[in-house]
Symmetry: C2
Subunit: 172 residues, 2 copies
């Protein structure tokens, strides 16, 4: 099965991201706006309990993480992806590392970790340029504290369902 790990920003930020995604992201309906902390990876279903056990431990050992969205940016020319950029935060980077550390979770990164919320993808060069040109003039400043991450699995229609949420720190 195909798994992924993500943080959902608060509802109001998801609503803002969706106002762009519905126009600029053809994959809009497959998942809610999110910060990917581990890209899609393939595991045998019987590895799931071990992964869950590890994620519980990681979550417990990780304090809630303050996150700050500070601008609109893009991955052009690598990828015509438009996104809300999140300030580098050592605790988020540390969490990302922990989710790639043990043998079970060692998967190749396609790209270096740049935390972001995608608001557009598969855009033409022209469209990306136009939209980015307009949005970069606006202020996108939002702060929130990530208190949990989600382990997701992908269905055949490419949508993602949450398998389990993991609360950061000793909240339980």
């Amino acid at each position: 099965m195909k798994l992924g790990i993500a943080i959902y920003p608060p509802k109001d930020i998801q609503d803002i991201a969706n106002s762009f995604r519905k126009r600029y992201d053809p994959r809009y309906s497959l998942i809610a706006p999110h910060i990917t902390i581990k890209e899609a990876f393939e595991v045998a279903e019987d590895q799931l309990p071990e992964i869950v056990q590890y994620l519980r431990q990681v979550a417990q050992d990780t304090e809630p993480i303050p996150l700050h969205i500070y601008k609109v940016s893009h991955f052009h020319p690598t990828n015509n992806v438009l996104y809300l950029a999140i300030k580098e935060e050592p605790r988020l980077t540390a969490l990302h590392h922990k989710l790639h550390e043990p043998p079970l979770l060692k998967h190749e990164h396609k790209y270096p970790f740049v935390p972001h919320i995608t608001i557009g993808q598969e855009m033409s060069d022209d469209e990306l340029h136009d939209v980015y040109g307009r949005l970069r003039m606006k202020s996108f400043e939002f702060s929130f504290t990530a208190t949990r991450f989600h382990l997701l699995y992908q269905l055949e229609n490419e949508t993602w369902t949450t398998y389990e949420t993991f609360l950061l720190g000793q909240q339980g």
Copy 2:
């Protein structure tokens, strides 16, 4: 904010449900296939911690629930909804009651609790009749054990995001 509580069946059952939903359910892309155990209800955001606390207690006090899908059925003429019917299971009914008990969660039921997974809705009488006529000849028998439920919240675009999963029994 608008909340709801649901159980997701295992991936293979979600995939089967989606094979019908993509044709017969215009609300297909808003949520993964699920069993609603508490219909959408409106709460003030500051009530969320108290609700979560209560749900944790309920989950801990509820053993995993064996569920059995046994046929295709429909709610016509009340509603042109086509669904996978789930055998009445006292532990599921008890969970449903607990999620409507305390003052905070006392909301009117629109309908009596008939556990089901919707696979079609907003169908015309003719379409419902045709599709049901074809599907009722087929066998739909699946068993699984519900080990968790999900607290969801609705975004402005009417999609649902998981807020937190609650594991049944002492699994944690």
